[in-house]
């Protein structure tokens, strides 16, 4: 068997029930060898459960998990060629850093000198060799994480499983460690499966993003695919950066379709080939919306909505303008370029109209 495919993870029709609760509902997924895969979703969507089933800390109720082409049912976590990094790191408080890292070797009865040598080797790799004799309580969060990483990597796994590894860190550290993780993965070349609920993190790190909701996979693809071409309104809303509209086409006149949204407003759009009576979900990217002052009661806009400024948030390179749509139809968020905003800055309460072009209308499947 070629070594290249040793880190392939295949999830085949897997379901997991905890008593009456369905945690995972018939999921199938293939994670290519050597890729960085992020499982993302809200709390309770099942992403950690999947991770634990790959690791061997849970068994599937139905379906199979294959690692490197080999079915791993019934195998102990240490026999699967995987290593897991817990969210809490779970460092052994009674052992030094070096002893923590070489623990798995001690379980395999490797000699003391050899253990020390290999521990120092891997600690050097994560830049923790100078703290080898400390105990976990003496380390900062970022340092603890690196020790946990070293401990996982020393077992020479084919797949590294990370359960929200960056959640416990402060903002600065999170960004630093993110970079380090990416570099590490590229360096070592094994498959990383990383569970997170932070969208920018997934976008930054992953070759493959899997968006999950309630035990099912909503969409799986590259970061650009997920962000730029979400297939469902759930993915669009969850990943952020979009305004989502759901509605029904009322009438089509001269290529302009009037859509009555669930919120009760009517939006006219061009450039779409829909028929009256059809249900339609579509979304517009926040940074593709232009906001301009309106003179109050104007004519209805095409490819746009009117309303009143609800909130303004300065974000340095752009300004987040939240608009209350007319007729109490909800909020629209536009990320306006800083220069554009300050050309004619609007204030909360000003009547405005928001516009987009027809090519920026993204149709969602459901």
């Amino acid at each position: 068997m070629s070594a290249v495919t040793e880190g392939v993870v295949e999830i085949v029709s897997v379901s997991k029930n905890f008593g009456p609760t369905i945690a995972i509902d018939d999921i199938s997924l293939t994670i290519p060898d050597g890729s960085y895969c992020c499982l993302i979703g809200p709390s309770g969507c099942g992403k950690t459960t999947i991770l634990r089933m790959i690791a061997g800390h849970e068994e599937t109720t139905e379906g199979h998990v294959l690692i490197g082409g080999r079915a791993v049912e019934g195998l102990e976590p240490s026999e699967r060629g995987t290593a897991m990094m817990f969210q809490s790191y779970a460092l052994f408080p009674h052992l030094s850093v070096a002893d923590n890292v070489s623990f798995s070797l001690k379980m395999k009865r490797v000699g003391k000198d050899e253990r020390r040598r290999r521990a120092m080797e891997i600690l050097t790799r994560v830049q923790m060799d100078h703290l080898a004799d400390r105990v976990p309580q003496q380390l900062s969060g970022g340092q603890q994480q690196r020790v946990a990483l070293a401990r996982a990597l020393i077992t020479d796994p084919k797949v590294l499983l990370l359960d929200e590894p960056l959640s416990a860190l402060d903002e600065f550290l999170r960004l630093q460690m993110r970079e380090e993780l990416r570099r590490l993965q590229a360096d070592i070349g094994i498959t990383f499966i990383h569970v997170t609920h932070t969208q920018p993190e997934a976008l930054a790190l992953a070759d493959l993003i899997v968006v999950m909701d309630e035990g099912r996979i909503d969409q799986a693809g590259t970061a650009r695919e997920i962000f730029d071409a979400p297939t469902t309104s759930y993915v669009a809303e969850f990943m952020g950066g979009w305004n989502v509209f759901r509605g029904e086409v009322r009438e089509v006149k001269n290529g302009t379709a009037d859509v009555l949204t669930e919120a009760g407003e009517t939006i006219s759009m061009t450039g779409t080939s829909v028929a009256a009576g059809e249900h339609i979900d579509f979304s517009i990217r926040r940074d593709r919306i232009g906001v301009a002052r309106s003179n109050g009661a104007g004519a209805a806009v095409v490819n746009g909505v009117t309303g009143v400024v609800h909130g303004i948030e300065y974000q340095g390179t752009w300004v987040k303008v939240t608009m209350a749509r007319e007729g109490d139809a909800g909020l629209l968020v536009a990320n306006v370029q800083e220069a554009d905003f300050f050309g004619d800055p609007v204030a909360v309460g000003d009547p405005v109209k928001a516009n987009w072009t027809e090519k920026d209308i993204h149709i969602l499947s459901r």
């Binding site: 817990f86 779970a90 009674h94 798995s104 001690k106 379980m107 004799d133 105990v135 077992t155």
Partner: protein
């Protein structure tokens, strides 16, 4: 006169210590920390009342022990109370070589051995109970209430119950049967409660991680769980020993022929008491203190060793700075 003077000196001593602490803390407050705002502490009247109560409490607690301690150095012709007829080690010698009735040597040996047995059993059973509760089992709630009930049950009744029970079974109670059981009804609740608390603080993911690292159940127990709960087990052992060593009411009706030390001391008190009783009291108090001190020292040494205090200690910020230097200037969060 030396009698009342002696007692007076003790009281004065305690009060003096209390006042000294008071003054010192006031000074520390007044001096303030360098460079910080001066914090003005207004001592309310309530504070002095509370301090007064505390001093009285200390006196009440320790005065009897100190008085007994003083009286144990009673002269050879002296009696059980003041005045002191000279000072001597006569009564200490009497304990080891008794000329009167009231031989405390065997009872002391029994108490020590019994306490050791109780200590071992309590520690092992409490540890196992902690594991069992961690896992969860049927009727665990009921058993927990029974364990707590054992603490609340009046000890004399427990003793009587065991005594009657043995009699009905046609068995003779002795210090290593009935008394052992009676002591365990007292020490096991303490031990189990302590181990429950200790185990509840032990993160489950630690054991899972051990398994992830390839440890078998036994390896996980030996290399991970045991070392982590070990200080707690020393605490349980300490409780087991001292609770058994000092135990009276539960033992009173079940020691049979051979009394434990506390039972013997009480038995002697009504009839043949001599200052040798005080000498035994003093020695046994010192003995208990030594045991407790040894227990704490063991825990202290273990935790210091684990905290890495015996290795070269640097400061955490230093380590972080080193890491930052390697990676270059920190990035600004720009989301």
């Amino acid at each position: 006169m030396s009698d009342s003077l002696g007692v007076l000196l003790v009281i004065v001593g305690i009060v003096a210590v209390g006042l000294y602490q008071l003054v010192r803390s006031q000074q520390a407050q007044g001096a303030g920390r360098a460079g910080s705002m001066k914090v003005e502490v207004r001592r309310t009247r309530g504070f002095y009342v509370r301090t007064g109560v505390y001093v009285v409490f200390l006196v009440f607690l320790y005065l009897p022990i100190l008085v007994i301690g003083i009286l144990s150095f009673q002269g050879p012709t002296g009696g059980l109370t003041f005045p002191m007829e000279g000072w001597s080690f006569h009564w200490f010698r009497e304990v080891f070589d008794p000329t009167y009735i009231g031989d405390f040597r065997m009872p002391w040996v029994r108490s020590v051995i019994l306490a050791l047995i109780v200590m071992v059993i309590t520690t092992i059973v409490s540890f196992l109970a902690g594991l069992a509760y961690r896992r969860g089992f049927r009727f665990s709630g009921l058993i927990f209430y029974l364990v707590v009930a054992s603490l609340i049950a009046p000890p004399f009744l427990v003793s009587m119950g065991i005594g009657i029970g043995f009699a009905k079974l046609g068995l003779l109670t002795s210090w290593w049967t009935g008394t052992l059981g009676a002591h365990l009804t007292w020490t096991l609740p303490f031990g189990v409660l302590i181990m429950l608390a200790i185990f509840s603080r032990l993160d489950r993911s630690i054991e899972e991680m051990a398994r992830d690292q390839g440890a078998t159940a036994w390896q996980s127990m030996r290399h991970v769980v045991l070392p982590i709960v070990f200080p707690g087990m020393i605490a349980v052992a300490l409780f087991g020993f001292t609770l058994s060593y000092d135990e009276f009411p539960r033992s009173s009706l079940v020691t049979g022929d051979g009394n434990t030390l506390p039972v013997e001391m009480v038995a002697v008190t009504g009839t043949a008491a001599r200052p040798s009783l005080y000498a035994v009291g003093t020695m046994t108090t010192v003995f208990s203190l030594v045991v407790i001190f040894a227990g704490f020292a063991a825990v202290y040494i273990i935790s210091r060793r684990r905290a890495g205090a015996l290795t070269v200690a640097g400061s955490v910020p230093e380590g972080e700075r080193y890491g930052k230097a390697l990676r270059g200037a920190p990035e600004q969060p720009a989301e």
